[in-house]
Symmetry: C2
Subunit: 399 residues, 2 copies
């Protein structure tokens, strides 16, 4: 397991991100949702301590820990004072290696997981996002992470425990710490705590891409949700930095094109944004508009027009926009460099996607090296390909 | 206007919070919502620059700014690199002193404000919170900040501009900066930028407290929202720190009583929390549960039982809980001390509520000075008084 430790000057806090290869994409057919239950059960007792005693042990050192299920990984996170890292690590290792997962906690966790599925009814934006992803990405990375009611129901204690033991293994795991930390002390402590922890988890098989195209779901809510997804470069691709700058021109800062054209100039919607996610084997460009039924069609039309325009000669990125996008990205890097939590999380994500962490300086240099000519050459040949559009509201739109 | 500047070591960022005495409580009868429109209009051009050019000016220096309407104040905020503070201040002063507020922007802002009111339909938690506050607090500090459709409709450009000019004045304003900043340079720059800015705003008249008690609103959502509000000490009261520790025992960290009893042990709800807000002339203790219709009654019963138990001899705070609450609060202070944004915002709030800012060390010493005996003596005599309970869902509960 790669262990990367970054000391940050001027902070007293420390943060940890531990990725374990047990994301929702690893849930076997028939027990979809097992990862969601594990996420809850990791916080309900371990190392022979009850749920309450374990929470109390963290609270007694002023630290906090979390578990959240991603597509590929279970993300165990912690934040604490740097001087308490040594006391915190054994608690986190217990969470990962010896969770209790008792029957009573399993039942309570199932109830909460079922409630989470039910509560989606009240969250049309989240539902639209999940529906769009389900139709865009290949199985099983198109999953919601919430699981299914049938899958949750089928999870016995043996099944849940067995799944975690087969996946929470060092090969495929990544551990990153950042902040007020002492690298060599942590390394020897972790080596001792993880003695005897061996093995590797199976990786999920990726199916063909989803059906994509347009779909609408009727929903009685007062708003209309519009989600738009296209494929984009992987994080490791040399095009990744160009895609980031392009999306920043569309949606970064306060003068991005989408905000100016869709929200400000025309008052069409209360929310509009676009984002890029570069993963290891895929990337996506996602856009979102939340608006009223009366303005939904025009909002979608203007959104699509702006997305298309940036790849046309008439919509080429201007020198001013380019400057703005670069400054915005470099400023964000500096801000994130002041947060131990943001650094630990970025380091872990870099290792998973690129095989190595980038320093803040390296990331700033990547931004700096791009020229306007390169960006526009990239934009002019960018084709959005087979996109997915999902709407949710009182009636469908014309795409 | 008080100007407080706090230099933080080890950061390159800087943040600013500027409170102007123009919160929604100052909206005159008949034009409720004028502050909401101003919040939007401050970001749509000033100092002779168009909306787009103004946004671009911030983006060009990698800074960001915001305006948000509170009960008492319009909160203008900015974050930037410390080296760009000098370039940012004139832009912020323009926002406050010379917003354009043109007709076209006013119309777009009205549309967005109307959409915000409509979108409440899809957010039962927010609606429950607003309904509880409306019945608990005296007018006009019981307002939502969204305004009313009639009030928004009645806002002409003259009305909006006149309201801002009568309220965005130095007496009652507070400006705080924190981060990588040079105090004396900022002070002389601000003195120059604010030359000729004089006057004081009228303060809103406070009416009698609301009707309080229990109310239910029918809502077709899949969840039930439960809000609970009681009066609590003001921030300046010596009891404020005791109330904070008490609420921390109930709801702080991961082993707080509400989380343990309501969510974990019984799996009754997906969300439960309690919080304290100490203001200048009032304080509130607020509790929230989000759950399913089947579990709503039991959730409310357990919530109420835990709130009552902590004031009874049988529910006295234990030494372990006390220790945990203190450590949690002191750790949070250290974490917040690493964020320039959190510091600027706390300094401004302190000046408004206490008349002076507290240092992080002073706040830590306040926590440290409390003994378990003091806390339990406070708890045993704490009476919740005339509380407000608001539920929202498919049917009412028994309180």
């Amino acid at each position: 397991m790669p262990l990367v430790i970054e000391r940050m000057e001027g902070v007293r806090s420390a943060a940890l991100t531990w990725l374990l290869p047990s994301g929702c994409a690893t849930d076997p057919a028939g027990i979809e949702g097992v990862s969601t239950l594990i996420q809850e059960l990791l916080l309900r007792g371990c190392g022979g301590r009850s749920s309450r005693d374990d929470a109390d042990a963290f609270d007694q050192i002023g630290g906090s820990r979390s578990a959240s299920v991603g597509t590929y990984a279970m993300v165990v996170g912690a934040s604490m004072l740097g001087r308490n890292v040594e006391k915190t690590l054994p608690l986190l290792v217990d969470m990962v290696r010896t969770p209790t997962m008792d029957e009573e906690s399993l039942e309570a966790s199932k109830d909460l997981a079922m409630q989470a599925i039910d509560s989606l009814k009240d969250d049309p934006q989240e539902r639209a996002m999940l529906a769009a992803r389900a139709r865009h990405q290949p199985s099983p990375i198109n999953r919601s992470g919430l699981g299914t009611k049938e899958g949750l129901e089928a999870c016995t204690r043996e099944v849940v425990m067995g799944h975690w033991q087969a996946h929470a293994l060092p090969k495929g795991s990544i551990l990153a710490l950042a902040g007020d930390v002492d690298g060599s002390a942590i390394e020897s402590q972790m080596n001792a705590l993880l003695a005897g922890w061996v093995g590797s988890a199976p990786t999920p098989k990726i199916g063909p891409v989803g059906p994509r195209g347009y779909a609408h779901e009727n929903d009685p809510s007062a708003q209309v949700q519009i989600m738009w997804i296209a494929d984009a470069p992987t994080e490791a691709s040399p095009d990744s930095i160009l895609e980031k700058l392009l999306i920043s021109v569309l949606s970064g800062g306060m003068s991005g094109r989408l905000f100016s054209e869709v929200r400000e100039k025309r008052g069409l919607c209360y929310a509009v944004s676009a984002g890029y996610r570069g993963d290891k084997d895929w990337g996506t460009m996602t856009a979102y508009v939340g608006t009223t039924p009366q303005r939904a069609q025009e909002s979608l039309d203007v959104l699509q027009a702006e997305i298309d325009r940036i790849t046309s000669p008439a919509g080429a990125v201007t020198a001013q926009e380019f400057q703005r996008a670069k400054i915005g990205m470099k400023s964000s890097l500096i801000f994130s460099g002041e947060s131990s939590g943001a650094r630990a999380s970025t380091i872990a994500a870099d290792i998973r996607r690129l095989g190595r962490p980038r320093s803040l300086d390296e990331m700033a240099a990547e931004v700096e090296a791009v020229t306007l000519e390169q960006l526009n050459a990239y934009a002019q040949q960018r084709r959005w390909g087979s996109v997915t559009i999902q709407t949710m509201g009182q009636q469908g739109l014309k795409v």
